[in-house]
Structure formats: C-alpha cells, structure tokens
Assembly symmetry: C2
Homo-oligomer: 610 residues x 2
Amino acid sequence: MSPKLTGEILRQLRQAMRNCKYFSEPIQAYIIPSGDAHQSEYIAPCDCRREYISGFNGSAGTAIVTEQHAAMWTDGRYFLQANHCLCNETPSQEDWLISVLPENSKVGVDPWIIAADQWKNMSKALISAGHCLVAVQHNLIDVVWPDRPERPSTQLRTLGLEYTGTSWQDKVTMLRAKMTERKIGWFVATALDEIAWLFNLRGADIEYNPVFFAYAIVGMNTIRLFVDLKRLSHPVLRDHLQLDAPIKPELSIQTFPYESVYTELQAICAALGPKDKVWICDKASCALTQVIPKAHRTPIPYTPLCLAKAVKNATEIQGMKMAHIKDAVALCELFAWLEKEIPKSTVTEISAADKAEELRSQQKDFVGLSFPTISSVGPNGAIIHYRPLPETNRTLTLNEVYLIDSGAQYVDGTTDVTRTVHFGTPTAFEKECFTYVLKGHIAVSAAVFPNGTKGHLLDSFARAALWESGLDYLHGTGHGVGCFLNVHEGPCGISYKTFADEPLEAGMIVSDEPGYYEDGSFGIRLENVVLVIPTKPKYNYRNRGSLTFEPLTLVPIQVKMMNTELLTKKERDWVNDYHRKCREVVGAELERQGRKEALEWLIRETQPIV
Amino acid sequence: MSPKLTGEILRQLRQAMRNCKYFSEPIQAYIIPSGDAHQSEYIAPCDCRREYISGFNGSAGTAIVTEQHAAMWTDGRYFLQANHCLCNETPSQEDWLISVLPENSKVGVDPWIIAADQWKNMSKALISAGHCLVAVQHNLIDVVWPDRPERPSTQLRTLGLEYTGTSWQDKVTMLRAKMTERKIGWFVATALDEIAWLFNLRGADIEYNPVFFAYAIVGMNTIRLFVDLKRLSHPVLRDHLQLDAPIKPELSIQTFPYESVYTELQAICAALGPKDKVWICDKASCALTQVIPKAHRTPIPYTPLCLAKAVKNATEIQGMKMAHIKDAVALCELFAWLEKEIPKSTVTEISAADKAEELRSQQKDFVGLSFPTISSVGPNGAIIHYRPLPETNRTLTLNEVYLIDSGAQYVDGTTDVTRTVHFGTPTAFEKECFTYVLKGHIAVSAAVFPNGTKGHLLDSFARAALWESGLDYLHGTGHGVGCFLNVHEGPCGISYKTFADEPLEAGMIVSDEPGYYEDGSFGIRLENVVLVIPTKPKYNYRNRGSLTFEPLTLVPIQVKMMNTELLTKKERDWVNDYHRKCREVVGAELERQGRKEALEWLIRETQPIV
C-alpha cells in the first residue's frame, strides 16, 4: 500500500471523525486495533482495518489517528519493520494520547474490536486525564473503505473421533462440569479456535487458522451456536451436530445467525436470576462483555475451553506426531533440493518458500500453511517476522545464512519449525551465535521441572548462554500450539514477559525457539515444537512429580553451523540422541514414501558429533 | 504463649466484636494482620497483636476471628511451623471468609495496620459476596490486651557523610527532582526504613531493624517530620537536622508529634489545588491513604526513596564490604571454636547462636543482630525459619548437619549469611543435596545478564540442578539488603513469585540463598550477600551493557559437604576463586586482629579443590 493512498484515507478518516452522522459530538482521536470481533491473531481481509489505514501489515499493532497525528504501536517482534513505518514506540498509547490531545477530548473506538480489558485500562487512563473513551458503533474505517471485502463463509469440515479423541458432546459435558464447580450458569465463547475445538468443526474463514466466524453460548440445558446459517445445510454437518435428531435435550444445539449474538445474549441476561453468573473471557470484545450486567459478569483470563484445549489427549498427541513426521519428510526433501539448486543461483526466498509449500502439499491430509513462511537470507534474517516480498526477495547463495520458519496445517495436526542453515562456509561468529542459540534450545528442551511450574520460569534457560557472551534476543521463547488449530494459542508459553500464564501440564504442546539477530547481517532461530511429558528423576520432592519436554519436530539441526567445542558433553549427547530419533522415525517414513535423495540427506545430516 | 490463654483472649475478642461501644453495629469477623502502621516486616512488642491473639510468632501471617472460627494464613516459609498452629492454608482469606460468614456480614479491620492495596482487594471480594469491610478505628486487640507495651522511643543516632555518602539535604533534593519530573507536589513517606535513610538517622525502636517510628511529608518547599518530639532534644541531632538554623528555607524541617500525621495530612490535602498530586506507596496504611482524596492520590508500588535507597553509593558499598569482612572474622572464629567444642557435646543451637553474637559484638561498630539467628541441627534445619527455643534446642554433634543463618547490624553495613556444615561425616545424600544447592548458588552468583533484567528471571538458575533430580525448595532465592538498615528491603529480589520487582541495577545488593529441606531430617541453605556490578562480556548486544554479581559475604563454604564430582570445571573454578578471595581478604583482617586459630581454620578450609 503506497504512503500516498494512506494519506488520502487518513484525510477521509479525519473527516469522518468530525462527521456528526456517526456520533452526537465529533471525536478528537480514533483508535484502530489490529483485531477482529473475536480478538483473533490472524484476521480475515474484511477485518484488516488497521492495515488499510496504516499500510503496516504486521500481525500485531494498533494505530491511533488524531486531528494532527497518526501513530502506531507494534510489539518487539516487529521492532525493525516498524521503524520504517508510521512512528516509533516508547510512550504507551494512553500516555501518547494524553500528551497530544486537547483538553476534554473524546477518543473513539469500535467496541467490537477492542477487548474488554483493554477498554477498561484505556478508559481509566483517559478519564484520569480529563478525556473520555467513546464506543463508536459504526466502524469509521468501514466508512472510508469503499471496496471492503465480505466476511468469509467457507465450507465447514467435521472432525471425527479418530482426530479429536473426544466428541463435542463430551466436551460440552466437561465444560458444564467446570461451570457447576464454579457455580456459573452461562458461558459465552467468543474465541474462534475455542468454538472450533468445542464442536469438532474446522473452517477456512481466516488464512492459516482453520476456524470459522461464530459465537457460542452454553447454558446448563441449552447450547446456542451463532453462525452464518447457510453453512449448516450439508447433511454431514447436520448429522455431526445432531441438529435434526438430538439424542438428549440438553445436548441439542440451537442455531442462530452470526449477527444475532448481541440480542440473544441480551435476552439471556434479561432472564437471569439475581445470583446467576455468566463466564466470559476478559479478552472478549468490549461490546459483548458489556451486554452482561456487571453483577452477573464473571470475567476470566482464560476460559475452561482454552485450558482444556491446551492439554492434548492421546489421539491428538498421536495426530500431532504424525503431522510432524510428514512435515519433516517435506523439509528433508526441501533441504536436499536446496543443496542441489543453490549453486545455480536460481533459488530465492520466495521460490524456496513456494517449494516448501509444494513439498508439504504432497503429504497426506495437508490443508494449508499454518502461518506465512519466513524465508530469509542474510540481513533479512535479522528482521524477526520477515516475510519475503518481491521488493525484498534475496537469492539463496553459498555465502549467507538462510533462516526458514514455516509450518502447516494437516487434518491430524499443526506444525511450526525453524531451521537456520548455511550452504557454504559459515563465519566463526555465525557459528558461535548459532551454538549459543542451540545451547539455549537444548537447555529448555532438556529441562526437568516440577509439576505446577509456569512456562515463564524456563525462559532464562534459553538465554543463559547468549547472556554470558553479552547477547540476547527480543522475543519470547515459546508459544502454545493447537492441534489442527491456531499455531499460536494460550494459555501457556515461555516468555520473559510475566504474563499470567498457566502452569505447564503433561499433554501441553509449546514451541522452543530461541534466536539471535545481528542487524544488517544475519538471523538465527532454532525452533522445535515440544510436548510436555511426565518424567521420573531420581527423587520426587513432596510427591509433586516432574515434567520435561519431548520434541515433536524431527528435522536435523545443521551440524555445520555448530561450534561443537562450545558444547558440553550433555549437549552433544542431546544432539546425537535427537538426530538418532530423526533418522529412525523420519527415515522410515522417507523410505516408505520412496524419497531416496531426502533419505540420503537425512542420513548424512544426522551423523553423530564428537 | 499457652493455648489456654489464647482461648480466653479469643473469647474476650469475640465479646468486643459484639460490643457496640466500638461501632454502630456488631461485626461478624475481625481481621488481625501481622503488621504495624508502617507495614514493617519486624514489629515492636506493642504491635505484636496477631501474635498476642494467635500465639503464632512467625514474622508474616494474618489471623481472622469470626464468631465461630479462628484461622491463620502464613507464607510458604512457615509451612512446617504453621502446621502446628491454628489452621492450614489453601483458600484465600477472602474465599475462607465468604465460605464461613452468614449473609450480609460486617468484617472489621484496623485501617492503620492494613495496607491500602490489601484493603482494596479484600473489600472488593467481600462486597461481591454481599458482605462489607469496615474500618474499626479502635483496635480490638488493644481492647483485650491489658498490659500492652508502650510504643518505643529509643535514642536516635545521626550518620555522617563517611557512612552515608549523601547528605539528607541532597536526598531531599533528589526526591524533589523525581517529584518535579512526574508533576507530583507532595510525597508521604510511611516506611520506617525509607524515613531513616532519607534523614540519615537510625533508631532502635524495632529489634533487628535500626529504625524509629516516624512519618515524613515532603512538599516542594517544606519538609515535615512526625516523630516523638522528645527525641529531638539532643544538640547533635538538632544540628544534624539543622532544626535551629536551616541554611535554606526549602531545606528547613518542621517537626510534629508522631500522632499528628493524620490531621496534618488532612490540612495539606484541604489546601491542594485541583491538579495537585500526592505520592503515597500502595502498601501504606489504608487509614493514611484514604486521607488523600482520590483525585489527588497517586499510589505507587515503590516510592522513589525505596528505589534510590536500593542502589548503594560508593561509600555505602565500601561500608557494606567492611561490615562483611568483620562479619566473616566472627564466623571464622565461630566455626573454629565449634570444631573444638562440639566433641564435648556442650554446644547447643542456642549456645552456638549466642557465641556467634558474642563474637560479632567484638567487632568494631557492632550494633546488634540483623534478624533472629537461625541455628538449627538435623531435623530442625528443615524448618525454614526455625528459631531455637529452649523446648526445641538440640545439641550440635558429629552426626547431624548444622545450619546457621545469621547476620548483624554494624554502623557501616548489614550482613546476612547462611552456612551449612557437618562436623563429622555427612551422608552421600546430604552431600548430593548440598552440591545441588551449591550449583544453584553459583549459577545465580556467576550469572551474566543484560541491564534491565528483573531478578525473578534469575530464580530458575538457582533451582535447575535441584529440579533435574526432582528436588526443590519452597522459598524465594534472594531479597534486597539495606545498608545499616533492614535486612530485607525492596524493590528487587530473586523469586519465582513474579511480584512487580524492579530491574536489577549496578549498586543494588541482594542475597543469593537457595536451599534444600528434607523434612524430619536436615536442612541445607547457602547464602551470600552479593553486589550487582557491571561486567563486560565478549559482545554488547544493542549497547545494553551487562551485569553480574560480586559476593560481599566472604565465609568459606564447607568442602566436606561437597560431592566435587558433581561440579563442572567452571563451578570448581568458582569455588576456588571464591575461597582464594576469602583467604586473602578475611585472612588479612584475622591477622591484623591477631586471631590465630581462626586464621588457621580459614587457611585450611580454603584449600583449592580439584
């Protein structure tokens, strides 16, 4: 998007901010969060309002437009990229607004795309400075966006027990048990992945995330699903949801149009008894949250669905393992192919990413990518969430480090893997940094920790080797990974930010991805998806039990990039054990699929180090 | 205190709770926090209300008495001890109250001894359950405590620049600069150590903490000190505070009686302009906080005094180093003496603690202990905050582990050191556990980390070796240490609890004290006080700079307790470097003091390990 166009749109938006058609009094500032009404991380084209107004296409970030200024906030991952965009960080959104606004200003925001907790903080800060936050029902970006796309309504896919391990009926029953335990009468589900997980359904409304636009409200005797009703006409779907012949009345699903969630929730709330409580996530939209009268509202940081979804059952774990083996097959094939092709100077960041997608698509039950492939050469690798574009596209050579962070959705699971490789001879500094990152990766992956430990307590393990040499990376170490669902999911993660994460539990799946980024030169990241598993160390203090990780990702880590002298014996043993497992498990599948070159590559790349 | 007596007091308290002399309507529950009006950790006898009512003498904990129940909450450190007391934990105070109270109950608390943030949380929870929290101006424990001691008013000691490095006038000027920066007109100081630090004064009102009962209110042109005025009569003191001939009007101190802080703050607040802001710590008493109208109140988690006090200047660092050398002399002497005496079976936990105090008191500028000595043999060592009493007193033998955690106040600094030793032959398990604790201690002490790192990110380093074997300890790893001030101080620390700690900075001083406790058998803890210092590793990512720790404590760590085979080369080097420094620095002082036996012991105990 050209800066010129953005300038014209800004002018139109400022006009809308003064137009009394949309509110009783003009507003002096308008906040454009990056999310949709479900606080999704990835969003559909119709919801890319912040990108439309700012031209910034990073996945996180908020733009604020005042009469005089336009500013944008991004998270640390976009540090480098955002420098080229609207503005730079430091002050909080609240502080910035307070510093630029005239007295008694009104700040507008669409209540459907701001989360309730963000609204609360922003409103409090503005009020304390004499301003106020105003819910603008009519989205002002939509006003100035003539050709805004339609909300998608893709075909829904049902998932049987062979993929989910638990029927949606059993999930509803488990949810109700949690509700009974906490004396809660109603639960409002707004996160798209939670709704997809609950009903064992998948869609394709949002790229990379196999979800569909919907809301659900579950009471002790009723289940209401809000979704474009046209999508529910197929007999397989009607049968899956038992829409025409429910077995038990309390497991009968009532369906409503997507848009009617507001009025339906209003009707439910109007009929509440004085002690009835409604659960809603504190990250749900302000609009929907405020429908529930405060006395009945019980906001929670993580819903019971989010917590239940995070702990994978045996079927899901088996599916995730299968998906990772298929994914490893594709990547072994990719790396073998790259080795052959790179000397010809014909492979670019984009064509390598395309090749990776092509190879993955040959695997059984492939659905699509799980996020945009980060395929980056040399200095582009230092841009943490880089995505190759025609104007930045570099050719892979024998002289620069290549970083590829990619993943796919298969019907049986979701993958996310990063490897950093050199096809010629890496410098001593590149190897040194790679080795520190590897040490950090191993320190997390091999960590043993008590049950009940929160992921953020493991973050420093990933950094210790880098810190010791004065290095670091400005992103977290890991995120939860869904099973044929969002590649980023709560409620657990591994980060120096002490968010209110939930303790790690056996069955949870997270990524382990430390990195190092030398601006203008190269980027290194090493990422496996790992499963939390119980382990039995020598002792068992207070019978708490211990946990560790099992890597699900089984792709060789390039030995050429390692300075093995910097590794301890324990670390070398870890590398050799890991590579042995890659060879055995992925080798068998390569053999089965008759992919000889990739098998040879795998065998060569997994030779023990000494 | 006998359980019988406690029962009678409980009966009287319940009578007071029903007595309308103290409030318009009876209350159904009364909360007795453990603190005083300054939220001190250690408190004067007149403020030991929770101990009086409950008989529990741990330093942290809250008792709640209802018409039917009496319950007590303690922190993890008292886990074992509290098991023998009123009740056990799990539910929060709020949840417990809600579960036992009849509908529409009134819960009383003295607003002077509950912190503003605690009041807020408790009040919110009670209101949401249909109850209410009531400020009872008349403390009900005082009502049933006929022989309650008087509030102490000990002689004040002035500290010159040779100890403080910064005059109180400069400290006030620095405070005002911070206030100007944040557009704050007034600051209310309520923490006793902050007031002592600000005015370069010390007292002895509270055992172990060289503080005095006072409040201070600093405006841009006035300084008000609230203290028992009798204490300010000495000419040295009047001169130090320039009470009779202030050099500049804005550095003139107005003195007021201690009790008049409430009315004086009311008067100040009555005269505030519409935009005037008053800083007060959110941990200050509810009573004083609520004097400030909400529109003018700016609560802060840590005051600028707390932050400034934590970063020691060159004079304070030099003083702390001197204090630690003297302290090491006393401990070398103690251990040499114990080695001789223990075979005679005449030394007990209490007599060993007394001997340690006697030896410390021989050192220059000794003032007193910095906390009650934990002197514990065998199973008593597993009680984390054990304090030997005649009825628990064990004899030191050649067969059991001995743990001594002790420290002193010297005019030049505060010490806190824990050593765990065996005078006979430790078991393989005791050595193994000791070695894991040592590995954790070294991992923190030798850690290199970027500027801006918060202490809690280092906590897992202290636990990794224990975790790997399925072990752990249920307390934090370190706390801030004052300079001739409180042995526990904010705003930094090293703990798995992600409290809102401030980043570590060069000049801060904290403890590093991992442990392991085998219930019923032994306790191990290894504690040094360490100084945060800048360090220059190989690289300097984004010019952030790096930090590490320098041990101030210089007392040998018993090699006999180590299983050196479990140590890495780096860890063995650390032990040898540390012991060399102990030998050189403390050896020179032992030589100077002519303490031959202790010197021989030191030389023997600091031989290099291989």
